[in-house]
Amino acid sequence: MTLNWFRLASPATFYPVAGKLIPWFAWPAALLACVGVALGLAGAPTDFQQGDAYRIIFIHVPSAWLSMFLYLVMAFWGAMSLGFNTRLSAMMAQAIAPTGALMTFIALVTGSFWGRPTWGTYWAWDARMTSELILLFLYLGVIALRSAIDDPRRADRACAVLSLTGAINVPIIYYSVKWWNTLHQGASVRPGESKMATVMLVGMLIMSFAAWFYSIAVTLHRARSIMLERESGSAWVNALAETRP
């Protein structure tokens, strides 16, 4: 089994594997998203306090969760690349960053649209939204650092150190709600004592899985392009380029 793993750690081996995996995540993501959006916009009942505006939660919460989760995964792959000195781990980290940044952006924008009718303002400087904004800057910082360094290996390692350092911020985001008495409503999902109707919970979970699978599919796709770019000139890439239309 150990032998298999390390063979998989070469871009040449993983490239076709990633290609086969993508549809297995892309199609379920699309399906889950359809179901989730339908539930969110129509299936779930109107909220007593917030009216139909709460329906934004079906995008806002999953994207916020993903934004934090993806950062941790990116930091994890960074750690792997530092520990095992594998190119592929670094390429995975490189592939995640843009999608993570986009999830963060979606969380911020949808949170803003949710905030206006609910709390009367597009932007309340509460701990949760502000931390999400910081997370966006963290993502952009990793992306900026990568583009500022010409040597890909130095970029890999520098971005790994940076994302690991930033990862400390992610728990602070999560626990800041507990420490701060702010506008933002308390964490919406707690095991066992959910304040929401089951339908709403199911809808959020479906959308979370949809977002997760979507992120995996897009990341794998981007990782394949990164492999082609960075391994350009090597035998397997040349062979591939000749056969592809």
């Binding site: 959006v37 916009l41 129509a42 109107t46 009216g51 139909d52 505006a53 329906r55 934004i56 995008i59 806002h60 994207s63 843009p98 999608t99 986009l102 952006f105 979606i106 924008v109 949808t110 649209f113 949710w114 206006r116 009718p117 979507y214 897009v218 796709h221 981007r222 394949r224 392009s225 990164i226 082609l228 770019e229 350009s232 000139g233 890439v237 040349n238 591939l240 380029a241 000749e242 592809r244």
Partner: protein, 61 residues
């Protein structure tokens, strides 16, 4: 149907949120596919330069 679009008066906010999300997701998918096309193109060019060094008479591939 009108009720659906009105979203109890919050239509602007709900549809803006869902709309921006849809736009961003589509944009990412388009960008990712474009990146792949560019990567394949560059790989092909790089491959042709290395795999087939130019003949003295500059033969066409």
């Amino acid at each position: 149907m009108n009720e659906f679009f009105a979203m109890g008066g919050y239509g602007f906010y709900v549809w803006s949120a869902y709309g921006v999300t849809a736009v961003v997701i589509v944009a990412e998918i388009v960008a990712v596919r474009a990146r792949r096309r560019a990567a394949l193109l560059h790989a092909r060019i790089a491959g042709s330069d290395d795999a087939r060094p130019a003949a003295p008479t500059g033969s066409v591939r």
